[in-house]
């Protein structure tokens, strides 16, 4: 076996080592998911990220987070704004797919500034995949 063959074998071993590392990293990721599953059912947290006036309207950006381990589909998010002396305003958003530990941003549009009022956010329903 000459020097060229040695180098070819070395290069093959490097390629094999890199491939093995990639596959082992993926298997390690799967194993860590098995160990650290967290709560199974979907659980939601809703947080107002900001309120932005746009012309005559007010855009309320809300972060919807699934704190559970299970994916939820068709997550229905409802926002209700109560201002003194006025009829309540409502908005509804549908998040099609929200995996466990994932979050999505939705925006509700209200005609009035929600700051002096009471804004209630809740998840009204979702579908199990």
């Amino acid at each position: 076996m000459n020097a060229s063959d040695d180098r070819n074998i070395r290069a093959e071993r490097v390629a094999l080592g890199i491939s093995l590392a990639v596959v082992l990293a993926v298997l390690g990721g799967i194993a860590s998911m098995m160990v650290d599953r967290g709560p199974d059912d979907a659980r939601f947290t809703l947080t107002v990220a900001d309120v932005r006036p746009e012309g005559d309207e007010h855009h309320v950006r809300v972060v919807v987070r699934n704190d559970g381990g299970r994916t939820a589909e068709n997550v229905q998010v409802v926002a209700e704004l109560r201002l003194p002396g006025q009829e309540p305003s409502e908005g509804e958003q549908l998040v099609q797919f929200l995996a466990g530990s994932a979050e999505e941003e939705v925006v509700f549009v209200f005609p009035d500034d929600p700051t002096p009022g009471q804004l209630t956010l809740r998840v009204a329903s979702y579908t199990l995949p």
């Binding site: 094999l16 890199i18 491939s19 797919f97």
Partner: protein, 287 residues
């Protein structure tokens, strides 16, 4: 001596490029399928292991008959090694493309990202293993029997053939994706910098498929004389053809119209441009 020193690494790199190119040809359509992104998002660890194992078994079976390397290695160890490397190339390639398409990134939970990569790696790894069987036909030697340079008419014909084949291949692949919701979905989440990354990925991938992976008669193709026949010129021209095809198909399927902002139209064209360009590369290899 210097050439020998690098020859082993060069062979491995060439094999990896060939594998990546085969993977792209096979894997691109499924990369643009939202159902695959979703199923990756709610897959249990056990299901991921099963998919990974199934992918490895299929790749092993394919490598027993061919593989992606340019040389034959009939030993069991060689086949196992090739299968492991095909799987790794599939995992890394699908991860890179999913990052560029912004389907995985910092905001995506690790288990969701891993699920998407594993599912998308299935067709990629199969394509890697089939790479050596792809499109073995080559370009007819452009030189005449006496070694003279080809007549000007044949040089123009070669350009027309290349661009025509690029168009047909682009239509073949992009036609399946253009009417679907994936393109607007991907476009909506893609800022300009990522679109530029997608353009670069499209150009590099199609260059690799046609000129670096070793499919068909690469030497004859590189020596082709004529208009737009330099490898990078041909790559660029074919990419422009792919973008044109993507634009026509998107308009045909009413994904946009003249009232939409030009930025949105351009973004959708670039997003569909990747699979169209890969299809165009396959078309050029077939001619």
């Amino acid at each position: 001596m210097a050439a020998e020193r690098h020859s082993g690494a060069r062979v491995e790199l060439h094999d990896a490029v060939r594998g990546y190119s085969g993977g792209m040809l096979f894997g691109v359509p499924l990369l643009y399928t939202m159902e695959v992104w979703w199923v990756g998002g709610h897959t249990t660890p056990v299901q991921m292991l099963l998919v990974l194992a199934l992918t490895f078994v299929v790749v092993l079976a394919l490598n027993l008959t061919g593989g992606f390397r340019g040389r034959d290695d009939g030993t069991t160890a060689g086949v196992l090694q090739d299968s492991l490397e095909a799987l790794a190339i599939g995992l890394v390639s699908s991860a890179v493309v999913l990052v560029v398409l912004r389907e995985i990134g910092p905001g995506v939970p690790p288990q969701v990202a891993l699920g998407k990569v594993i599912y998308e790696a299935m067709p990629f790894a199969m394509g890697v293993s089939l790479a050596r069987h792809f499109l073995q036909g080559g370009r007819v030697d452009p030189d005449g029997e006496d070694g003279s340079r080809p007549e000007p008419a044949s040089r123009v014909n070669a350009t027309v053939a290349d661009l025509g084949a690029a168009a047909v291949g682009a239509i073949f692949v992009a036609l399946n994706i253009a009417p679907t919701d994936e393109v607007p979905m991907l476009t909506a989440a893609m800022p300009p910098l990522w679109l530029m990354a997608l353009v670069v990925l499209s150009l590099v991938s199609t260059y690799l498929i046609v000129f670096a992976a070793g499919f068909g008669d690469v030497d004859a193709r590189r020596q082709q004389q004529g208009v737009l026949q330099h490898p990078w010129t041909e790559t660029l021209a074919s990419y422009l053809v792919a973008l044109l095809v993507a634009g026509v198909l998107l308009a045909l399927f009413q994904q946009f119209d003249s009232k939409d902002p030009w930025t949105d139209m351009l973004s959708q064209i670039v997003v569909l441009g990747l699979p169209a360009a890969v299809g165009g590369a396959a078309g050029r290899l077939a001619v």
